[in-house]
């Protein structure tokens, strides 16, 4: 890292001193102490995060908010055991105390071991989001002015838009990982997100629509060219207006076409979580022991890629300091890999895949997704819709959930249309789609050429930890999935 020419690159040693008031020797001593019982590995995760948000409602920029989060987590691994302690007071005394607490999992008393932090990266570091802090966060006045333009754009879309709630959140985060193998890695992780929610009213009918986007980008992302932020405003307004005319959704098994982009949440729920290393090591995933087996139709190649520049789910290094990579999970229908953090990779005897992530210093890492998507196929998206005589075309989703043990997953449409005679008919109310991961993936019979990634709003929750993620999908056809409407 010290050799990088990137002006934005962080010098870990300088960071420890400036942000946390410590030196490398203090870290080495803490790691050594953490290993004092019979432990295999120890790491320290330092975090300093400032979150700035501003929000608008009823045409007024009502709220401005700032939070400063900082702290350190100490982890000790011994076999399958994890000891974890954290503190938001970063001092040598607290580090020592945390190390003592974390090493409580060790069985036998032993002497402190010595650790030598090299301060040099073990693998080439990506530089996926070279954003200066100053370009990430313009003045509060500028951010407030953008929200007022967003409000205007949504209301001008249609007079039936009665309220607009919009917010811009900017996260400026610095992390530093030091471990007992001598790795010392730092990363600066910017994150920007705009969210727009519109309420439409027409007589007694009321509906909502939402849109948003962002990524690990400078604020300019929202205001470049034709002002991308205003596009999100109009999109949220459009969805609310479309839904005013939505009729009851159908109920039962039918053919469903998913539009490109955000409907990739299907992959996140149907296969992504089930392929996380922890569940497979423990044998509690429906995908356990299926490596090399067919788990999807031959048209499906699914990838988790943490290395796409500027995306919300991307990272230069994961939260254990491992560089992220592109991992092929399913290739032409065959299961070919799991998502791994250090602990589970070690126990399963495979390499870590750069998927060890955590919400903050208050949490220990777990295998998590980054940007998960299906590669494009060859079909014309319009042909795919034409191929369905009677079914559902879903283009936007609220969110999903999966029971990784039974493999059952759900995801809920927030904008969908009936397909009748190969043509799009009227909009239908939101409905939940439910299926079994491996079963539904085998029912994918058409894959479009129009792969798109989502706009950058996804957040994934697992065991109470939230992390930003991305999804993507080309238009696909699923032959027979249960749609949970109210109309038989």
């Amino acid at each position: 890292m010290t050799t990088s020419a990137d002006s934005n690159a962080l010098l870990p040693t300088q960071l420890i001193a400036e942000r946390f008031g410590l030196d490398v020797a203090a870290l080495e001593a803490t790691l050594g102490a953490a290993l004092a019982r019979r432990a295999d590995f120890a790491d320290l995760f330092f975090e300093h995060r400032v979150l700035h948000s501003v929000s608008l409602d009823e045409g007024i920029v009502k709220k401005a908010n700032q939070s400063i989060v900082q702290g350190v987590g100490v982890r000790v691994l011994a076999g399958e055991k994890t000891g974890y302690a954290f503190s938001d007071e970063i001092s040598i005394d607290n580090l020592k105390l945390a190390a003592e607490n974390a090493r409580a999992i060790g069985a036998t008393s032993d002497k402190s071991r010595s650790v030598d932090l090299r301060g040099t990266p073990t693998a080439p570091r990506h530089d996926l989001y070279p954003v200066e802090s100053s370009a990430l966060l313009p003045s509060l006045t500028d951010r407030a002015a953008l929200l007022s333009r967003v409000d205007h754009a949504a209301r001008s879309f249609d007079p039936r838009i009665k309220n607009v709630m919009a917010s811009v959140a900017v996260e400026d985060k610095v992390v530093l990982v030091a471990n007992s193998e001598g790795d010392l890695v730092a990363d600066h992780q910017p994150l920007l997100r705009i969210s727009v929610n519109c309420i439409a009213e027409d007589g007694a009918k009321r509906q909502q629509g939402s849109a948003g986007g962002g990524g690990r980008v400078a604020f300019g992302f929202l205001i470049d060219g034709e002002e991308r932020a205003l596009g999100f405003a109009r999109e949220a307004a459009r969805q609310a207006i479309v839904n005013l005319d939505a009729t009851d959704a159908p109920a039962g098994e039918m053919n469903v076409v998913l539009g490109p982009g955000w409907p990739g949440v299907l992959l996140h729920e149907a296969v992504g979580h089930g392929l996380e290393g922890d569940f497979n090591r423990k044998g509690t995933s429906a995908f356990a022991k299926l490596l090399g087996e067919s788990v999807a139709s031959e048209l499906c190649t699914v990838v988790d890629d943490g290395t796409i520049a500027a995306r919300r789910g991307s990272l230069n290094v994961d939260d254990e300091g491992t560089p992220t990579q592109r991992n092929v999970l399913i290739e032409k229908g065959k299961l070919c890999g799991y998502l791994q953090d250090r602990l589970n990779a070690g126990l399963m005897g495979v390499p870590a895949t750069g998927n060890g992530r955590r919400e903050s210093f208050m949490h220990y890492p777990m295998p998590r997704m980054t940007n998960t998507f299906m590669l494009a196929g060859e079909d014309d998206p319009e042909d795919i819709i034409r191929s369905v005589d009677r079914g559902l075309y879903a283009v936007s989703f609220g969110g999903g959930q999966v029971d990784i043990t039974s493999g059952k997953f759900v995801f809920s449409a927030s904008e969908a249309y009936r397909i009748e005679g190969g043509k799009l008919a009227g909009p239908v109310k939101g409905a939940t789609l439910i299926g079994n991961g491996p079963d539904v993936m085998k029912r994918i019979t058409r894959v479009g050429s129009d792969l798109a990634l989502d706009d950058g709003v996804g957040t994934c929750g697992k065991d109470g930890q939230s992390v930003p993620v991305g999804v993507g999908l080309p238009t696909i056809r699923i032959d027979g999935i249960t749609v949970g409407g109210t109309q038989a």
Partner: protein, 452 residues
């Protein structure tokens, strides 16, 4: 670095005094200290031990009718002043909001009742004790049946917090809470089929926490009964919600009666005050002062005395849940439901909210159904709070001639929340205060089930 190590209210005083001298017209501040410890045991071995300590200070500053919020974990003596000054400056940039402001001093809580929220008895529980309790819980679960071959583990956790709140109108208050929790998630296997379920208990008092063995046995039963699950055909049927899934319905009702959803015009209960929004058998209470309640507190996030609000009385919508901001927006009075995280402005949310117990045993309710679904799990986010449209994944047991038969999975149930609450035909007598929001077993006359 010198850390300010005075008492909790000293920090609140310091923040408020700094805000005043920086030019804020009004301010309020929250300080929270939180410690926790947990042990996770899986297949009889310790898998994870966790220990933590956090402290945060949050402050809201007003510049007339404009306000800004911030929170920080950097509580060193010389960090607080620039931090508070930056919030005052932010407030001067935000647009004035005519409805903003602190509640009047005359409304502030004058009493501070002892609500049994903290129990020091658990302070003597050592990290090794946590491991032993979790081990007992998991062993009890896995011992029930040989088909319970795997586990996501059992966890015992213990937490404590100190909360202080003060405002420039003169309020100062503080209280302590403790929490004890135990949970286990066994996995059952039968042929190619694998099912997982869980059970847990939590309490403010260690002595009132369920025995580890009883939590384990309930988790085992819930997991085993999911085996041999089938998808059933699409049809319209009566649905019985067990207390856990019934509580989730009440959470949707809670969101719809909270001030934020109402003044945003984003609630399916908008303009329904006084109307019949549920069956006459339904009464819903929100009580912020339930003794030992998991969501009890002596005062709300703005210093108002918490109280008991009847939200739905014999099916009629009787009260919204409001903080002082949403109350002003709606031309009403706060119901003392302001809740706030350290870093956010207050917003209305429920405290201990429950549906009053009815007369019927769960068994009688199931017996009354000729053919229908007994729901024990729900999944997904298919609830539209604006319209009340409801569509979620469901799992449970099929009811045939009043008897529970085989397990059901991979189906959805759908309807509209307003219709669903009005169609509640039976309310169970089995209310237990297991969480902040609780309900007894419920029977809803008719819903659309989508399946095979």
């Amino acid at each position: 670095m010198s850390t300010h190590d005075g008492s909790t209210t000293d920090l609140v005083d310091l923040a408020l005094e700094t805000a005043r001298s920086a030019g804020a017209s009004d301010a309020d501040a929250v300080y929270v200290e939180w410690t926790s410890g947990a042990a996770l045991v899986r297949l009889g071995e310790v898998e994870t031990v966790k220990m933590s300590r956090e402290r945060r200070l949050g402050i809201r500053c007003f510049a007339g009718k404009a306000s800004a919020m911030a929170s920080t974990a950097d509580l060193t003596g010389d960090a607080i002043e620039p931090f508070v000054r930056s919030v005052v400056e932010m407030a001067s940039i935000v647009a004035p909001d005519p409805d903003s402001g602190l509640p009047p001093a005359s409304d502030l809580a004058a009493d501070a009742p002892e609500l049994a929220l903290a129990d020091e008895a658990g302070d003597s529980i050592s990290p090794d004790d946590r491991v032993r309790l979790a081990t007992r819980c998991e062993a009890a679960a896995l011992g029930v049946d040989p088909r319970l071959t795997n586990s996501e583990g059992a966890e015992f956790s213990h937490s404590g917090s100190r909360i202080a709140y003060g405002s420039s109108t003169g309020f100062r208050g503080r209280y302590r809470t403790t929490g004890y929790g135990i949970s286990v998630a066994p996995v059952a296997t039968d042929g190619d089929e694998m099912q997982r379920d869980s059970w847990s208990d939590s309490s403010r008092a260690y002595a009132r926490l369920a025995e580890p063995e009883s939590v384990g046995r309930i988790a085992a039963d819930r997991t085993l009964r999911r085996l041999n699950a089938k998808k059933v055909p699409t049809q319209t049927i009566p649905v019985v919600f067990d207390p856990i899934s019934a509580a989730s319905l009440l959470r949707h009702l809670a969101s719809a009666v909270c001030g934020g959803a109402l003044y945003h015009r984003a609630s399916f209960l908008l303009d329904k005050m006084g109307e019949q929004v549920a069956s006459p058998d339904v009464t819903v209470i929100d009580d912020g002062r339930l003794e030992g309640g998991l969501a009890s507190r002596p005062f709300d996030g703005e210093g108002l005395a918490t109280r008991r609000n009847v939200v739905v009385e014999d099916g009629r919508l009787a009260s919204y849940l409001l903080d002082s901001y949403s109350a002003r927006k709606l031309g009403m009075s706060s119901t003392a439901n302001a809740s706030r995280s350290v870093g956010d402005a207050p917003g209305a949310s429920p405290t201990n909210m429950y549906m009053a117990a009815g007369e019927h045993s769960a068994q009688d309710i199931i017996r009354s159904v000729d053919k229908g679904l007994y729901v024990t799990s729900l999944s997904g986010f298919g609830v539209n709070g604006v319209t009340g449209d409801y569509s979620r994944g469901a799992g449970g047991l099929w009811i045939e001639n009043g008897e529970l038969t085989h397990a059901v999975e991979e189906v959805t149930i759908a309807g509209n929340l307003l219709d669903m609450f009005r169609n509640i035909e039976m309310v169970g007598s089995d209310l237990e205060f297991r969480a902040g929001i609780c309900a007894p077993t419920l029977l809803i006359g008719q819903m659309m089930l989508a399946g095979a």
